[in-house]
């Protein structure tokens, strides 16, 4: 079953084509990462799926609903972290969660969610006293308090310190282990690589690549082999690392030499991402 199906999606703001011919599908229970530079069209795509923005063309199904005309249980089943939002500054963390919990038929336990997003110590503090990262955790908490089946996270960990980021990753993994579907946008490629079952790279309103992080890093760029010879750095890029490495090492062994500082590296997702988004820039 697909939680989300998108085909031929288009959206323009005046003359600006923010989303042009986007197709993808997300399985139930999948964590799907949407990557791309500023202005690529990620938020536009996500907000069309959430039901905020009207599409110009294309077919969209989210949990079986058309988000432009959703049925009554659509909003019971989705959780949303917007790229930007604030909450009532004078309410406490707990009160804010309790208000949101009251909107849903079968919410999660408020204190449990407050603890889950790491705000237990701040539960009775007013929202305006929270730090930026803590406010973002509040956004995450109120997205989860309704116990949604599908969670949209638009840059959920922006402003998090490294510990908070790890904690959020744990939480997103726990969502997956509960069988929830997650659509995540992020500019942190390590985050996408750590969390996503599949990622899509967006660029100027188009998806230029979709696949598992492993697929992207094995098929998109060549493997790098580095070593030092006579004090000079040698770099070989190849699609056939096994053969090249065998030749290099057997030649070295035959000469009785050591390949100093030998390294074999698969490109990181970041390098693939930069290559994908730069390539398009020239084209």
């Amino acid at each position: 079953m697909h939680a989300i199906e998108v085909s031929g999606l288009r959206k323009a703001y005046g003359n600006l084509e923010a989303v042009r011919e986007v197709d993808f599908a997300i399985e139930e229970g999948e964590v799907f990462g949407l990557l791309g530079p500023n202005g690529a069209g990620k938020t536009t795509t996500v907000e069309i799926l959430e039901g905020y923005r009207k599409r110009d063309a294309g077919e969209v199904r989210v949990l079986g609903h058309d988000p432009a005309r959703p049925g009554p249980d659509f909003r019971e089943r989705i959780g949303v972290v917007l790229q930007q939002s604030q909450m009532w500054p004078n309410l406490t963390v707990r009160e804010t969660h309790a208000i949101f919990a009251g909107y849903y038929r079968a919410p999660r336990d408020v204190d449990e969610v407050v603890a889950l997003v790491g705000l237990r110590d701040k539960a009775n503090e007013r929202v305006k006293t929270l730090s930026g990262g803590q406010k973002r955790r509040l956004d995450l908490g109120i997205a989860l308090v309704g116990d949604p089946d599908l969670v949209f996270l638009d840059e959920p960990t922006t402003g998090f310190d490294p510990q908070a980021r790890r904690a959020a990753w744990e939480m997103i993994r726990s969502l997956r282990s509960l069988g929830k579907t997650v659509l995540l946008t992020t500019h942190y490629l390590d985050e996408a690589e750590q969390l996503s079952d599949r990622v899509a790279v967006m660029r100027e309103g188009r998806i230029v690549r979709v696949g598992t992080p492993a697929e992207l890093t094995t098929t998109d760029l060549q493997t790098e082999i580095r070593y030092r010879q006579n004090g000079e750095e040698v770099l070989v890029r190849t699609d056939e690392p096994t053969r090249v490495l065998a030749e290099l090492t057997s030649a070295a062994v035959a000469r009785g030499e050591e390949l100093e500082g030998l390294q074999v590296r698969r490109p990181s997702l970041e390098e693939v991402y930069l290559a994908l988004t730069a390539e398009e820039e020239q084209g």
Binding site: E50, G51, Y52, P72, R75, E76, I78, V80, L82, Q84, S85, Q86, M87, W88, P89, N90, L91, E95, I99, F100, G102, Y103, Y104, R105, A106, I142, G146
Partner: protein, 262 residues
């Protein structure tokens, strides 16, 4: 109980959501010191101040009684027009309205609870004005309570419609208070909230004559000062209805839930 049974068992009727949201609105309102002061307390302070400096008669009745009626008018515009508009603009620009749209809370339930919450604040303020007037100046309670309640509800509805309309026009949270007060204060002066307008120049009175607040204060005067029923004032009701309808129609076409794009 199975998980499914809990889900079904907890299915709440729409009325439950309305009550939940109404309580939330009241919590948000009273928790904000600025809102509680400027919206609820300020008209009460003005009444105490003005009724202690004016004496004699206004419109042929003791000054405190006329001022009490005028400040019910000011309180109505201050609460349902100015206060509501400022709160709505801030919530819209902060993204709170947008965020609420992603929850199962229906927009109509949200609006209804916000309006009823506003009415509660204004009704409490009106009661406080009567209690203060009685305690400080010996003003009487209204003789026709039903008519006064009807007037309060009508006034709150009309000014709330105008408040949502102006909130649809104001573009930034920072500017909202300035814009709204630039309308509210002159309107209150020209409509006679703070005393008789009989000695104003004719053109100022002419401006006052088209403003809704003048007709609301007329209505409260008729009910409170002269003991007439609210339905004996068709002219006031008609003007208020036109303003309210205009505000409503404007709101329906122009109201936005989302912040302006950065």
């Amino acid at each position: 109980m199975s998980a499914e049974a809990i889900r079904v068992g907890m299915r709440r009727p729409a009325r439950g959501l309305f009550v939940h949201q109404l309580r939330s609105e009241q919590l948000v309102f009273w928790r904000s010191r600025e809102a509680a002061f400027f919206i609820f307390l300020f008209p009460l302070l003005l009444f105490v101040l003005l009724s202690s400096v004016y004496d004699g008669k206004i419109y042929g009745v003791p000054a405190p009684e006329a001022l009490l009626a005028g400040l019910i008018g000011y309180g109505c515009a201050n609460t349902a027009f100015a206060g509501l508009a400022i709160q709505l603009v801030i919530r819209r620009e902060n993204g709170i309205l947008k965020r609420l749209r992603a929850t199962p809370l229906p927009p109509a339930t949200y609006i209804a609870s916000l309006l009823v919450s506003t009415l509660i604040v204004f009704a409490m303020q009106t009661v406080a004005l009567f209690l203060l007037g009685r305690a400080l100046n010996g003003t009487p309670f209204p003789s026709d309570v039903a008519s006064l309640v009807a007037a309060v509800v009508i006034g709150a509805a009309v000014f709330a419609a105008l408040g949502t309309a102006i909130a649809s026009v104001i573009r930034s949270a920072e500017g909202s208070s300035a814009v709204v007060n630039a309308i509210l204060l002159p309107m209150a002066f020209l409509s006679g909230s703070f005393g008789s307008t009989l000695h104003y120049p004719a053109f100022l009175r002419a401006v006052g004559d088209v403003l809704p607040l003048k007709y609301f204060i007329d209505l409260v005067n008729a009910v409170y000062l002269h003991g007439h029923g609210v339905w004996t004032q068709p002219q006031d009701l008609a003007v208020l209805a036109v303003w309210g309808a205009a505000g409503l129609v404007f709101t329906m076409f122009r109201f936005r839930w989302e912040p302006r794009e950065p």
